[in-house]
Subunit: 481 residues, 2 copies
C-alpha cells in the first residue's frame, strides 16, 4: 500500500489508534482457523461511526480492502486479512449501552464479550442463550457476523434468534439502522437476517440490539457413556422423538473423551466408544419429569454409566469439560482442523459412522464431538501442517465428510460460517443459483469489493480489461499459532 | 397486452388453465385490502415448475408483469394486479408432500391451506403454530411471502420461525432451492430469510419445508374485562414482566367487543372499555401455575370480570370470538381499513391511547384490537370508501398512528406487510438507506422488474431516455367487494 494512503488512514483514526509495526501486523494476520495467514498493511481501532465511514470511503476511493475483526476466534477464516488490506478491530467497543427490563432487550456495542454480557444479564434474572465454544473471549459482533451457535442451540436456537436490530456502516460508508424493540416487524425486506451471518462482507456493526429471555429456574445435567457408539446416536433420536427438548445434547467420541480426560481429569470413562452430555432446563416440575424420561431412554439404549450431577457445581464441571473439547484435542498435535458438518437430526448415527469411515479411509486422526441434538458435528482432525502429505489426506477426508453430509440432506457448516476455509464447498451446499444470488447481493452492496473481500464468495472481475485482483488469493505460506 | 403474448401465455399453461373472461379477470382484480383494484390481462393456474419458469422468461422478454397469488387474503395489497399483468394462482398446489416424524418437518406445496395443514399435523401430535386471522382459507405460500403472524406469536413466533427451506422460481426464471432439514445452516448468505416476507417480489415458491414442534399437552383460556382501558395495558405489562410467556394475550376495545358480541352473542360485557383474551399452554403443572399467577395479576389491576374456560369447547368458543373480530367489525360499515401498527411491548398502553386520540382528532370510527403481548395492534377504521372526505380523514388518522408508533420505537407493520397499502410509510420506518438497500436487492434479482412490481418499493426507471413505466401506479378507481 502506498505510504500516502497509510498516512490518510492514520489521520482518520488518530496515530494512537493506528499500528503498523511488524509485531502488530503479525498479531492480526491470523484468527482461530488453522493454516491461514496474511499480513495486513496496518491495524486500526476506530473510535466512532464517522471514522469507520471515512475509512470505507477511502477504501472505495483508493481501492484497498477493510477486514473487520472482533476477538478473532472464528474457525472459517472470516477475519483473515487479504493483500493490500487493513484490519479494523472492534474489541474496544465493548460496552452495554442499555438493558431494558420492560422489553427484555440489551443494546450493546459489537466488541462486547459474549460471556461478560451473559453474566451481567443473569444478575437481573435474564438470559442470553447463545453460547459458542469461545464465549468467554469472543464478541457479540463476531457472533452476529458468523451467526454463531453453541451448546444450547437445540432448545434456544442460535445468535440470529436473539438479534432484534443492528446499526452498521455499509461498505460504501453510509450508516444503516435495521430493526428495533418491536418483536414483530415486516416493513420491507428482512435486511436484518441477511446481514446476520454475512461474515463482515456487507457492513461493520456499530451497535447490536439483542433479545433476552427469562433465566430458567432449574436445570439438570446428565452424562452417559456407551460401549457402542451406535447406541449414543439411537438415544439422541429417541430423546428427540419423545418430544422432550433438552437445552443440550452433546456428543463426544472416544478420542475426544480421552483428550478431555487428559486435560480435565474429571473421571470420564476412557474405554467407552461415546459419551453424551445432556441438560434439561425450565421449571422445577418439568425438569425432574424430563430427566426421568431421559434416563429411562438411555437405559433402554444400553447406557453403560449414567451420572446425574448432584449440584450446580458438578453440573458446571461436566459442562466445562465438554466446552474444553476443542482445547483438549488441540493439545494432542500441532494443528487442529475443526469442522462442523451438519445433518438432519435423524441422520446423526449415519453421519457419525461416515466420520469414522473418513478417518480410516484417508488414514488421519479425527476426534468427533458436537451438538448431537442439532445434528451438528465437529469432526476434528489432529494433524501437523508441516506434513503436507498428511494435510492433503486430511483435506480429502473433509471433502468426503462434507459430501456425505450433503447427500444426507445436510450442509457444510452449521455454525462456523463459510469464510475462506469452506468456500470451495459452498456450491455443493447451495447450488450454482444460490451462489449467483449471493454474488448479486454482495456486488450491489459493495460494488468495489472493499469489505472483507474473498470471504464466502469469489467475486470475478467486473469487466474485461481490468486486471484480476490478487487481493482475494489465499496466501499459501503457513504459520504456527 | 398484445394478443400474441396472451396466446403464448395460454400455450405455456394449456388452455384449460388459462382464463381471460371479464368475470375471471374481475375475480382476481382485488385481494383482502380495501380500495385497491386493478384488472389483470389474464389469470393462469400453472401446473409445474417449468411452466412458471417459462412464464417468467416470457415476461422478461415481452415486458409484462407477473403477480403471484395464493388465497388473496392479504391486507396490504400484495397480490393486487398492476397494469399489463397476469395473475399466477398457486391455490391448486395444495398437497402435503411429506411429514417427517423423525425430524419434525413438513414439506408442502405453497397453495396448502394453513388450517388444513394444522389439522393434519395435530392428528400426529405435532403443531404448526403460526395462526393468521385467515388461517382457515389462507395459504402457506402467502404466509411465507408475507411472513404472516397470528395470535400465538407471543410464545411461538411468526411464520419465518417455522420455515426451514423453500424451493422457488426466481424472477428471471431459474430454479432455486434454499435450506433443508438441518436445523442449523450458515453456508453463505441467509437467502431464506430474505425471500420470506418479500411479498412475491423475489420469486414464486413451489415447495416449502416447515418445522413442526410437539403439540402442547394442555392449555387454559382466560378472558377478562376492564372498566378502564389503561388497566388492560398495565395487566399485559405485568404479565410479561412476571416472566410468564402466554401463548396468547389478545386485546379488544369496547367497539370491537360490541361488534363481536353482535356477531357471536357469547355474552361479552358491552360496557367495559377493554377485554383481554389470554391463553397459557404447555405442561399440566406449569399451565395451572401460570394461570393462577395471571389471575392474581389481573385482580391486582382492577379486573372487572374474569372468566376461565371450563373445557376445550368453551375455550374454542372464546378464541373463535376473538378470531372473528375483523369480520365482526367489517359488518358495521361498507369499508373496513385494518392496520397493524406495532410498538415495543412496554409502549402498548401509550399506543392504545394514541389510537383513541387519532379517532377523536380526525373524527373517524376506529375499533382497536390485536396481539397485545407482541405490542401489535390492529386499529380498524369503519368507514365508507364512497365518502371521499371521510376517507381522507381516515388516511390522516392512520398517518398519525404510524408516526406515533415509529416515535415509540415501533414499526408500520407487524405482520401484514408493506405491499401497496403502506409503501408511502416505509421510508419513515426503515430510513432512506434501508429503502436503497432493498431496492438494490430487488433490482439485481429482478432486473426487468417483472415480478409483482411496485409492491414494497417503487423502482425508478433505470436510465434516462426510458419512459417511466405506468405499471406501478395504483389505480384510483374503487370497487366494493
Amino acid at each position: 500500500m502506498q505510504p500516502f494512503i497509510l498516512e490518510k488512514i492514520k489521520k482518520i483514526v488518530g496515530s494512537e489508534h493506528y499500528y503498523d509495526s511488524p509485531e502488530d501486523r503479525i498479531s492480526y494476520s491470523y484468527d482461530g482457523t488453522p493454516m491461514l495467514q496474511q499480513l495486513p498493511e496496518a491495524v486500526v481501532f476506530p473510535q466512532n461511526n464517522e471514522q469507520i465511514s471515512e475509512l470505507l470511503h477511502l477504501a472505495n476511493k483508493e481501492k484497498f480492502s477493510i477486514i473487520p475483526r472482533g476477538a478473532g476466534t472464528g474457525l472459517s477464516g472470516g477475519s483473515i486479512p487479504v493483500e493490500n488490506s487493513i484490519v479494523v478491530v472492534m474489541t474496544k467497543w465493548n460496552k452495554i449501552i442499555e438493558i431494558d427490563i420492560a422489553n427484555l432487550t440489551a443494546l450493546v456495542e459489537p466488541g462486547m464479550v459474549t460471556g461478560v454480557l451473559q453474566k451481567e444479564v443473569e444478575k437481573l434474572g435474564l438470559f442470553y442463550p447463545p453460547d459458542p465454544g469461545s464465549m468467554n473471549v469472543c464478541t457479540i459482533g463476531g457472533n452476529v457476523a458468523e451467526n454463531a451457535g453453541g451448546l444450547r442451540g437445540l432448545k434456544y436456537g442460535v445468535t440470529k434468534n436473539y438479534v432484534l436490530g443492528v446499526e452498521m456502516i455499509l461498505p460504501t460508508g453510509e450508516f444503516l439502522k435495521i430493526g428495533g424493540k418491536s418483536v414483530k416487524d415486516v416493513a420491507g425486506y428482512n435486511l436484518k437476517d441477511i446481514v446476520i451471518g454475512s461474515e463482515g462482507t456487507l457492513g461493520i456493526f456499530t451497535k447490536i440490539l439483542l433479545k433476552l429471555i427469562p433465566l430458567p429456574t432449574r436445570s439438570k445435567t446428565i452424562t452417559v457413556n456407551f460401549k457402542k457408539i451406535i447406541d449414543s446416536g439411537k438415544s439422541v433420536a429417541d430423546i428427540i422423538s419423545s418430544r422432550i427438548t433438552p437445552s443440550m445434547v452433546e456428543f463426544l467420541d472416544n478420542t475426544t473423551m480421552n483428550c478431555v480426560e487428559d486435560y480435565t481429569k474429571i473421571g470420564l470413562d476412557r474405554n467407552s466408544e461415546a459419551m453424551l452430555l445432556i441438560e434439561v432446563d425450565g421449571r422445577v416440575s418439568s425438569v425432574d419429569e424430563d430427566a426421568e424420561t431421559i434416563v429411562s431412554i438411555l437405559k433402554k439404549n444400553n447406557a453403560a454409566q449414567i451420572r446425574i450431577a448432584e449440584d450446580p457445581t458438578e453440573a458446571l464441571l461436566l459442562k466445562t469439560a465438554r466446552r474444553s473439547a476443542f482445547s483438549a484435542l488441540a493439545r494432542r498435535k500441532p494443528t487442529t482442523i475443526l469442522e462442523d458438518a451438519t445433518v438432519p437430526r435423524s441422520e446423526l448415527p449415519v453421519m457419525i459412522e461416515k466420520v469414522r469411515e473418513a478417518a480410516s479411509n484417508f488414514n488421519v486422526a479425527i476426534g468427533n464431538f458436537g451438538h448431537a441434538g442439532d445434528g451438528n458435528l465437529h469432526p476434528t482432525c489432529l494433524t501437523d501442517e508441516r506434513d503436507s502429505v498428511e494435510i492433503t489426506r486430511a483435506h480429502k477426508a473433509f471433502g468426503f465428510i462434507f459430501n456425505e453430509a450433503i447427500k444426507l440432506g445436510g450442509t457444510i457448516t452449521g455454525e462456523h460460517g463459510t469464510g475462506l476455509a469452506k468456500k470451495d464447498f459452498l456450491e455443493s451446499a447451495v447450488g450454482k443459483e444460490g451462489i449467483e444470488f449471493m454474488k448479486k447481493i454482495k456486488m450491489v452492496v459493495d460494488p468495489n469489493n472493499v469489505l472483507n473481500p474473498g470471504k464466502i464468495l469469489t467475486i470475478a472481475p467486473r469487466c474485461e480489461g481490468t486486471l484480476p485482483t490478487k487481493r482475494e488469493q489465499i496466501p499459501d505460506f503457513h504459520s504456527h499459532h
